[in-house]
């Protein structure tokens, strides 16, 4: 320990690192003001890890920025209520006071370490900015698990791997011995194996530096791995708050139950429709009366629409309380948790061994030259001899981490990237591709109707027939016909991905190529898109190649699983065999890293 930290004044003193009381925040965006947080009460005890879980739009990241006193001034934030960090009033404090709190009491780890580190500054210097001391920086870098810290001190962020970059962020976060670390989706941008390491690291940092951690995530299982308590946030309010085992195993709020059930795991039944939450129809943040969740809640009663259920009797909740904001009895909610499974779906066994295979890839090699900034060239050998045959009607999942070559393989099959050597043969009908980011794969200035019509143009069907086909496509993806008139920006992420699916399948291709189509979506939306792909596959007897980094998704979407790493297929086989008896060490490590919460008890 350095002498500076020994002489540091006693922090907090009342056993809490931060407290949030009656917090309301509204932000302005494009001239429209919306209530992002609507009455949040929460304390973060010293040395405690609190998981803050919610879907996108729940206000969890705004809460993080509010704790830091860094709400963007462009959004003209209006704040009522109180935030105290280490005894300092964050809501009313001067800019200088807030800066001092950030410097002395707060550490932060953001989602994407690539963009969150300054690309033109050596990483060591970025750590030193917080430590003001070279030796301390080196010590912290080795404390967060960076081997050869002296060597790594002099490199730039782009020269490190994603996991190492996030470790640098962690070193910055713990520099100056903060009393509270805020981790905003710290593992979302990382591969699963790295995700597990970063979560372990957070817990170790808490143990070693005796700080508190607010872990913000969309995934209950991630929070469940290291948190002491979990707060489930819905539309700017805490829906349920309790210990990890309470939340994960005895959920008392229908929303928590819904989140848990729509979460995909290695135990999710393969032969049933995936459970989803009812889709959100309006903007819940604008409903000032009633429970924000009532439009989606399977247990909603009349009272839910008019009267807002309180989380507790007011004031700051006790540390060990299990609190919920719901009018229905705990029994009713627990019944919901144990009841109702999805409708069973008959998995199509349309695999036709006699027919020609839909895709036949032989000895495929792909190299490309990365030209960074048009200067020095670096050759990447993305595919190193891949052989893959997909029978007509078969669904194959390709699993791998970033850089494994799985997306490149898909792009080569789609004809978007040329192969260096080897052959790709497709059955008649060709390939259609659905990309990860539906937002950027739909042309922003075309309406949905125009986007779909484009696909029909080569058939020369005439306007009336085109219209009929477009309507049919929209019905098949469960969207209203009026969607034909709007542009992609007016749709939600899940709806956009549905449109992308409709575009790909309205003229059924020989093979549908899906490149992580759900990894940018909330769990429930992801499940509904996966359901849709499985339905379409059944109806159109389509061949599907599904690329994902998530073994639990791969297990649900494929008849077979193919595991790739470093441009090679290291394991391939029927789903059950690969999941239950993985033969390759890489598959085993992937399986071990899947965060899980066990069967809902």
């Amino acid at each position: 320990m350095t002498s500076a930290s020994q002489t540091a004044p006693q922090r907090g003193g009342v056993g809490e690192a931060a407290s949030i009381e009656g917090l309301h925040i509204s932000l302005q965006r494009d001239g429209v003001r919306s209530n992002v947080l609507r009455g949040v009460n929460l304390t973060i005890g010293r040395g405690e890890i609190v998981g803050l879980v919610g879907e996108s739009g729940s206000g969890k990241s705004v809460l993080a920025l509010a704790l830091l006193g860094l709400l963007p001034s462009a959004a003209a934030p209006e704040i009522t209520g109180a935030i105290r960090v280490a005894g300092v009033d964050i809501v009313h404090g001067s800019a200088e006071e807030l800066r001092t709190v950030r410097r002395d009491e707060l550490g932060v780890i953001f989602q994407d370490p690539m963009t969150s580190l300054n690309p033109t500054m050596r990483v060591g210097r970025q750590v030193t900015e917080s430590t003001h001391d070279h030796a301390e920086a080196i010590r912290l870098m080795s404390a967060v698990g960076i081997a050869d810290p002296e060597l790594r001190f002099r490199v730039f962020p782009h020269e490190l791997s994603g996991g190492l970059r996030q470790r640098i962020m962690a070193a910055i976060a713990v520099a100056g011995r903060p009393s509270l670390i805020i981790a905003d989706e710290p593992t979302t941008a990382l591969d699963v194996t790295v995700q597990a390491q970063v979560l372990d690291l957070l817990r170790e940092l808490r143990d070693e530096f005796d700080c508190s951690v607010v872990l913000i995530t969309h995934d209950l299982a991630v929070a469940g791995q290291i948190a002491d308590r979990i707060a489930v946030l819905y539309a700017g309010r805490i829906a349920e708050l309790g210990s990890v085992s309470d939340i994960l195993h005895r959920p008392n709020h229908p929303y928590t139950v819904g989140l848990l059930r729509s979460r995909l795991s290695l135990e999710t039944p393969r032969d049933r429709e995936l459970l989803t939450l009812r889709p959100e129809t309006g903007s819940p943040g604008e409903r000032m009366t009633g429970c924000a969740y009532h439009t989606r809640c399977p247990l909603a009663i009349d009272r839910c629409a008019v009267e807002q259920p309180p989380l507790e009797q007011g004031g700051i909740p006790a540390a060990d309380a299990h609190l919920r904001a719901c009018w229905r009895s705990i029994n009713d909610v627990q019944n919901l948790a144990h009841h109702s499974q999805g409708d069973s779906v008959v998995t199509p066994r349309t695999r036709n061994e006699a027919a020609a295979p839909a895709v036949r890839v032989e000895g495929l090699h792909t190299r490309f030259v990365l030209k960074s900034g048009g200067r020095k060239r670096r050759e990447v050998h993305a595919l190193r001899g891949v052989d893959l045959t997909v029978q007509a009607g078969e669904a194959v999942s390709i699993v791998g981490e970033s850089g494994s070559g799985k997306s490149t393989l898909l792009r080569v099959i789609a004809g978007l990237t040329p192969a260096t050597s080897g052959s790709v043969a497709l059955a008649e009908g060709g390939a259609q591709m659905v990309f990860q980011d539906a937002g950027s794969s739909l042309t922003p200035w075309l309406s949905i109707g125009e986007l779909l019509r484009e696909r029909l143009l080569p058939l020369r069907l005439g306007d009336a027939e085109n219209r009929k086909r477009i309507d049919k496509a929209l019905v098949s993806i469960g969207l209203p016909l009026s969607v034909a008139g709007v542009r992609p920006a007016d749709l939600s992420g899940g709806q956009r991905q549905r449109v992308a699916l409709a575009r790909a399948t309205m003229i059924p291709p020989a093979v549908l190529l899906c490149d992580e189509p759900t990894s940018a979506l909330d769990a429930s939306l992801a499940a509904s898109v996966l359901n849709l792909i499985r339905e379409m596959r059944q109806e159109l007897t389509m061949t599907v190649l599904f690329v994902t980094h998530d073994l639990s998704v791969a297990r649900l979407m494929g008849d077979r699983i193919v595991v790739m790493t470093q441009g090679e297929i290291v394991e391939a086989g029927p789903v059950n065999e690969v999941i239950e008896h993985p033969s390759h060490p890489y598959t085993q490590s992937l399986l071990a890293s899947v965060p899980d919460i066990g069967v809902l008890a």
Binding site: T100, L117, P119, T120, F156, S372, R375
Partner: protein, 328 residues
């Protein structure tokens, strides 16, 4: 890094060769007989023929081009028809004044552009009061600005001189600002500055806005970057965040625009030098064009082109220094 610099220099040399080829071809196809221009229209045909032979004008074009290049390497740009002196010595006499004017003006442009960009990006209070006028001024053509400046600051207010450099250089470098210090003459130094202000500012305004706009938009996008949020969450002071994290990541596009503008300024100097009777190569060029003094025109073009190519090569290297990802 070293490899990148070497490659960038090599491409600069290729560009220079292309430039010489273009200048040579223009000279070759231009109407008007250089020999007659040199000897005068009354020269006897025999004298003209002899001179043609002596100048190598009867040789095939590639041979002439090689001769042209060889002469160039020896610093021989031919004789000016107008002054009857070697173009090289003419350029040596006029170039320092131009470089001095453009350099000072470029510094003005960088300062004005940076203030314009930073005040806009950080939303300084009252910044609209000078950004507005600056924007209006930038839309005016330089000759109008020059005349306006002369009318106001020379004719009406008598604050600033309106023509020439104010003194002749006697020192070793040819640059008045440097020579006056070297020879210990602070009076001349002050006079030189007085004479530089008007033409310098007139020449600087349009580039200042061009550089400022680019810098402003890259500053604004950098201010939104995640790593700036990281820097703020470290509790760094506002100006430290700007200086360490924002500036360097915003400078790239502004650097290439500055290089481009510096090139334009050497071209734009022709008009400004004429109006302010500045004894530089712009003036020299303006006097050479009407009399088709091709060696002089070619010489000036070659010098300006060379400066342009060198400036852009330097800018590329600077960009690489600013952003380590470019050389990775």
């Amino acid at each position: 890094m070293t490899r990148f610099v070497v490659r960038r220099l090599a491409s600069a040399v290729v560009l220079l060769l292309v430039l010489t080829a273009i200048i040579f071809l223009l000279q070759a196809v231009s109407p008007g007989d250089p020999v007659k221009a040199f000897l005068g229209n009354n020269a006897s045909p025999a004298a003209v023929a002899a001179e043609r032979q002596a100048l190598g004008l009867n040789d095939p074009l590639p041979v002439q081009y090689l001769q042209f290049l060889t002469n160039l390497l020896h610093g021989d740009l031919g004789m000016s028809f107008r002054s009857h002196r070697s173009v090289t010595s003419d350029l040596a006499a006029f170039l320092p004044a131009t470089i001095e004017l453009v350099t000072v003006s470029f510094v003005f442009a960088l300062i004005l552009g940076t203030i314009f960009a930073v005040s806009g990006a950080l939303r300084w209070r009252g910044s609209a009061f000078y950004r507005g006028p600056l924007l209006v001024l930038a839309t005016a053509p330089p000759f109008l600005l020059a005349l306006g400046g002369i009318v106001i600051f020379y004719a009406q207010l008598s604050w600033l001189p309106a023509s020439g450099q104010g003194a002749d250089t006697t020192g070793p470098t040819g640059f008045l600002l440097i020579d006056s210090i070297v020879t210990g003459d602070p009076g001349t130094w002050g006079v030189a500055w007085q004479h530089l202000i008007l033409p310098g500012v007139v020449l600087a305004i349009a580039p200042a806005i061009a550089i400022g706009r680019i810098l402003r938009s890259s500053l604004e996008s950098t201010l939104q970057a995640d790593f700036v949020r990281t820097a703020e969450s470290k509790g760094l002071k506002g100006h430290v965040v700007i200086a360490r994290h924002v500036i360097r990541n915003s400078i790239g596009p502004a650097l290439s625009m500055a290089g481009l503008q510096l090139g334009f300024m050497f071209a734009g100097v022709v008009v400004v030098e004429q109006i302010f009777s500045w004894p530089g190569i712009g003036n020299y060029l303006a006097n050479s064009i009407p009399v088709s003094d091709f060696p002089a025109i070619a010489g000036v073009t070659l010098v300006l082109g060379t400066i342009y190519i060198i400036v852009n090569a330097i800018v590329d290297v600077l960009q690489t220094l600013a952003d380590p990802r470019l050389s990775a």
